[in-house]
Symmetry: D3
Subunit: 337 residues, 6 copies
């Protein structure tokens, strides 16, 4: 099967990494990470536009697309130290959510089956269902935990007559057994949704959701430490799902359902890096970037950096495992250079 390329715009790869075809495992046999675009916004309940997320996240940077991004902070070059491929987009017709999620799961599972980490660029959060399910299909139901950054719980049931949508993926994942409810960690929730009956369902699943008030009172670091502990209990690794709206709209205006009072960009980048460094990551998605609502591409920039920080954490984790070293966030930039 031929590489589909890009559903919108030219066939480019994330920051210039090598292209591959997800359906041809031979085209990425040495991959550590395979990027997939999920240009789908048919599941959003409000502002659309995330179909252009993959194109913008791949392309938005002032540095050249040269397949190299040496991290100042972690002293690895994720795009070189890891073997990262970009498989292009999965064709996803926004007018057919059911078929789209089915096709995406096939692709994610194909990638995961090779042992590579699938990293999906959304699209709206609908895609988290096939993303994490595709990983679980490979590692086994309930063997992957979820760390989920978001302003919203995304645990709705039927909405607009459909089981598929950007407010429901987390429920589908738990109901299907792909991810255990008691290994489901949510960071950054706030606002006025979901209503009590859905919260009750969540409580019954024994999910652990950190609302911003608790995060403010206890500190983000402490919450992350606690969440990491839960995530690794009886699981092989984590799926990291980052909804860009976990950040405050001031830092991420280009999104569909902005909820004031969120994390700063700095907090999100630090958190993503830390999780990817400390825990074995089995899959990642970065979703809900809506370029038509963005300004000066700041939300696309942020999402691009979320991807890079996840990759950087993974790369440094592997390097430290290999070299027996440890990362020290307090080390001055130029020490030992």
């Amino acid at each position: 099967m031929a590489r589909y390329g890009a559903q919108f715009g030219p066939d480019i790869t994330f920051m210039g990494v090598d292209a591959c075809d997800w359906a041809d495992a031979g085209s990425y046999s040495d991959a550590d990470v395979v990027i997939l675009g999920a240009p789908f916004d048919g599941g959003t309940s409000h502002r659309p536009g995330t179909r252009f997320g993959p194109q913008y996240i791949r392309q938005t940077d002032y540095n050249p697309p040269d397949g190299s991004r040496p991290s100042l902070a972690m002293r690895v070059d994720a795009l070189r130290d890891l073997r990262v491929y970009d498989a292009g987009d999965v064709e996803m017709f926004s007018g057919d959510a059911e078929r789209s999620v089915r096709d995406l799961q096939t692709a994610v599972h194909a990638v995961a089956s090779t042992g590579a980490i699938p990293l999906i660029l959304g699209g709206d959060h609908t895609v988290a269902w096939p993303d994490a399910a595709g990983v679980a299909q490979h590692v086994g139901a309930g063997r992957v935990s979820m760390i989920h950054f978001d302003a919203h719980a995304d645990t709705g049931d039927v909405e607009h007559g459909s089981l598929v949508g950007h407010g429901q993926p987390m429920r589908r994942l738990i109901e299907s057994g792909a991810v255990r409810g008691d290994r489901f960690l949510q960071i950054g929730l706030r606002g006025y949704w979901p209503p009590p009956e859905i919260l009750s369902w969540m409580a019954r699943q024994r999910m652990r959701s950190y609302e911003m008030t608790e995060i403010g009172a206890r500190g983000l670091d402490e919450c992350l430490t606690e969440a990491s502990g839960i995530a690794m209990d009886e699981c092989d690794g984590v799926f990291l799902s980052v909804d860009i709206d976990v950040c405050d709209p001031g830092h991420a205006p280009g999104t569909g359902t902005p909820e004031p009072g969120g994390l700063t960009a700095r907090q999100l980048l630090d958190s993503v890096r830390r999780i990817a460094y400390e825990l074995p990551v089995l899959g990642v998605d970065v979703v809900e970037v809506s370029p038509p609502y963005d300004h000066a591409e700041i939300t696309s920039y942020l999402a691009n950096r979320v991807v890079l920080e996840a990759l950087t954490g993974i790369a440094r984790r592997r390097k430290d495992a290999r070299d027996g070293t440890t990362w020290d966030p307090r080390q001055p930039l130029l020490d030992g250079r």
Copy 2:
């Protein structure tokens, strides 16, 4: 069945006309025109956002929403001289195009069955299929001709694996027999789509498509006169479908697939008014207004005025029929006031 109201935002009506419930014919038994919102953008091939079209077209004005719009040019007040209701939106989940068009057609047909003119606010152009089909379902297959303002022919076949989408409604209408190919008039086409094989299909259907080059060479008025003649041959009336991208992007930037070189806003308003005045209109839709890509709401303003000019033409046509008068575009504004 209860009125659904608005899928996005508060339950308002077009410029303050009375509300009704399309499923309850008694709620609009005296209607001349019933407005329906079709907040769907799951069928668009490029920029989404038209789901917010109904909300913006209903609301965008500097005049108050008082259910009155006396036309300076035509000396009728369409919202008062006609009995216009707004039935709110049909719920359309953008992630399920097939169900959405089915549900919309049900609503349009229900309205048409009462003898009222359905006027649909899109949404992307996918909705033209259920819009005109719903009318044909009432007046009989092939009894309604189509006058279609657009930069694009919208006669594609399968796209992204689907028969439903904003590039294909006109093919579906002809294939289904709802509208005769040789009573299908297209105004304003231009650019580089569709490819020759689709043009051949169109030619075989004996469609009549006025590309901008012909319009420029012959004059818009002459083309409209010719088109009107064809439209009324063996048909009971016309369905008027206005894709806002028939206008140049300078006049209508807020749309999904802008094609430079289109009509001016003035030309479109004059054309819509003229058709609605000269021909018996059986249905109308105004589509492809994408507020996230708009600036200073100028595209929403234009679409609002397209609706008003269509209603104004209908109102004046009925008045003239009643009073035996004729409209004179050269008459000074204040003459005979």
Copy 3:
């Protein structure tokens, strides 16, 4: 007297709560809170646009306008647990500031007289004069203290030849005796206004103003605790006036006189919630939201949430008083659901 409705756009209510007519007390006899729109920007010294504040604050949300907003953090649904009405706008002609403030005060006083809490959606900050004066007219001069979030002191005297304007309401309130100078708490001031002579006047009134430098050095929580203590000394309750420009322009660009270096959105929401929870609130206004200068509606979203957090705090305060419970910000979201 008939409800005026909306000065701009359709007659909608805040998030779908019930409508009432402020001039007809019977229409809201069971009200806990009555919302009033004050669509006035004739008093602004720089960028206008706040006249559209009421329309945007009422309407901007991705959740449906269903009259329900269950707070994740506080476990109350302010729009249901309280009886909240929206009285529509007071007609305010921006070209006549004096008449406008007089008419607004009449409406605020009418609401306050029924025992309901008036919550006013500005409009520029000019409206704080009639807002707090209308409350004081009911509870008695000097019986209501003021907690005022703002980048600016708004204690100017005559400007552009007028005593009325958005830089002067706080002076008017103190001079008139409506609010005691020594019960006037200001949070978030910064920048280069007002000049020393006005600061001297403020000092003579024994106002207590927390500039951002002091807040940074001492911590916002400590400042709020101190301010709350002052506010409740010999007063029956507080008027909470929130100028959205207390937040940094990054979080609230859509305002008339943005001053860099402000609070984060998170800080403002937490502070508003806390005050509404801890102190007896007698009136609220949320002002200076200028939609033409906003991007992706993030400032309107923030203001909408400021209103909701104020209501949520009030609702939880009443619930705790009723049930003998206490709110714990550290409680995990799903505990006890």
Copy 4:
């Protein structure tokens, strides 16, 4: 009396012409034209922002502010061939429309009294009342006719409880006798305002209003010729009032009450130039430019050019009178250079 300068921003002059003080006739004793800024938007019924019109119209250009603008088309340099001064702004508090118009009229009259042509930069259209009245105060009631480019008639009576506002100046001018109703020429009207009763009032005043439909049917040139004839019958000269919304929103998005279907920028510039060349102009205003709603400053650019074309027409008219020459629009640019 000292020059007030600019109400907003630095004290600059239109394209760098010399500054003067309107209250000190000696500071512009040799003036042909004196520019006045009227930074007032308290009278607008919808979107504000025109208070920044004077600042933007004065400043928006890519050519340097060097007090020179040689017209390619008319072969005069209006800023040099005429003696043009800029008197800065009249202080106008938007919250006090009555005082503001009174103060503006004083300034306009002062300028007109010296024999100079006052050219006012709005501001919303409220200012046309004091603008033309100030001229009539000098030349005599009924001695100045009005040529008024606008989408709207601006002949409303009381609105929002006020006689002063941007929808009413033309009524005030006629009622006060400053301008004769039968010497009132309106070009470019369209849409759905005013209602029939106001149109009747207009007809009774024997105004002559060219709606866009008549302009389209007869041609703009023919309408202008006819209008010019009426304007000069028993009058000494014309006041030229240009509301930028006479242009289509595609050409002038930055305005308060955009009405689709207007003139092109080219048509407006040609018309203004022609009137200023063919008729004795006694005063000019250019109004309703709202920078917050503009994009890439295209509306400010257009308004700047409207001012320049008016000045250019005046300059060429005087030159031809002096030299006995005639302007030929068909002459190639480089002929005779």
Copy 5:
């Protein structure tokens, strides 16, 4: 020498045509047209941003980048009927205008030497000097005439101490003898630049410049016919240089020095197509597209279509020469399909 690719963003080609390396003639030996990007804005006198022109003109479309663009109007597919390559960008450091234009001319000349038509995507208009000079270097000094669409004459001498800049290329071309002054045709000039002394210089060169007033008075078609006649007198072909600001800012806001009163997009597209069809084109450039000042990419869309219309005209011209056919603009779209 290796292909440089793109100076900004990923290495893509215009609408997906094949890539080549201008320095390796073998990589495009069968080329009819070779596209070159000139991402330079160091020569602009006002708003920069045109460095992103090549990236946006290549990429902006809703049709896929599939190397095919069948023209509805002309019934050729320029990207398939011609052999079109895209050589990527010439590296141009905006901070070094002299080196940049030298390097660009080398590339243009290299392409022209192979017999292919160079088509350059600007960049600011500075690039017209190396563009046309590179062609003249191949066909001989004075053997290529210039048809120049622009609001500005671009015939300045020294500006900001430099001979190189976007206001001066036409002077350099004439002074150097590359293009004859009396074979220099300018369409669309307007406004207030250049001053009389430069116009005198232009007149002495016997340039022929059509200002918008002459175009309005005589008609664009007649002017183009006259210009075409001059262009082909004693010359081998034409260089077509299109500054997007020849269009009105309403149609092309995304540019550096917008001048109100320009052509419509429709007029420009028709003119470019006509010239490319009627005359032997030896080179083309499309310049002054500044994406940061654009809205909804409408200016990039327009520039993309200008390129396509030029290619389409060339393709149809060659086809007609081959087949002995003639293009009829009045032919209905579906006739003979």
Copy 6:
């Protein structure tokens, strides 16, 4: 030599301070600070637009340009307590970086030679080379240390074939000996540039660069204290160079190379104020403000305040030295007024 004034727009001064001519020392003989505009963006590697930085930084405020800015926090009025002049812009042609930096250095040196502090408004960061070199030229090579707020190290070598550009000034300063590498303090670095070989070069120079991770781990205050200590070791004073992109893009979107995860506006303002208060400042620049990418002017507002806080710190430092007082950030605003 005559004052050049403004390269773009009218000749205004920063907030209305007095004008001077840098080439005429007599015009500012009593100056404490002289402001220079450096309207140059020819050195930027990505988004341009900073040429308009000086114009916007000078002009953007809601307070009047009255030459007075009394700081609430520091109780000095920097524009009055210091003698501040604005020398206008140095003419800098963006297409000739080498000449431009040479000319700027001449101006900066001229100012520094008089003993006044030069404060330069960029422009892109290219200007830091001539800015600090011009100061060092006066105080002696190596006698001025550098405190550099930036997301980027700006220590590149040759880029695009040039030694001059916005990514390289810091290298040029160290290589030339103007500033000692071991007295070069960088605050706020982050992201993926520069690559290891440049970091090695930096380490060899013994630069001290605080990446955001270290700042997050240790706290900004501690890092600043440490940096200040280094800066004053064997140096006479500091040059303070503030690249606005040190702030997070949410706070400063209007810049050329935004890097997510930066400082808040509050942090930057506090830091600048503190450094200017605690250390002897010999020169300042504020760079990389790109108005075309800004929204609602929030980045220009921030840069304006950075300038004011630097001036305010300087003024208070001098006052305290004079009066023997000390600034207490915890002092309530109204204490002792």
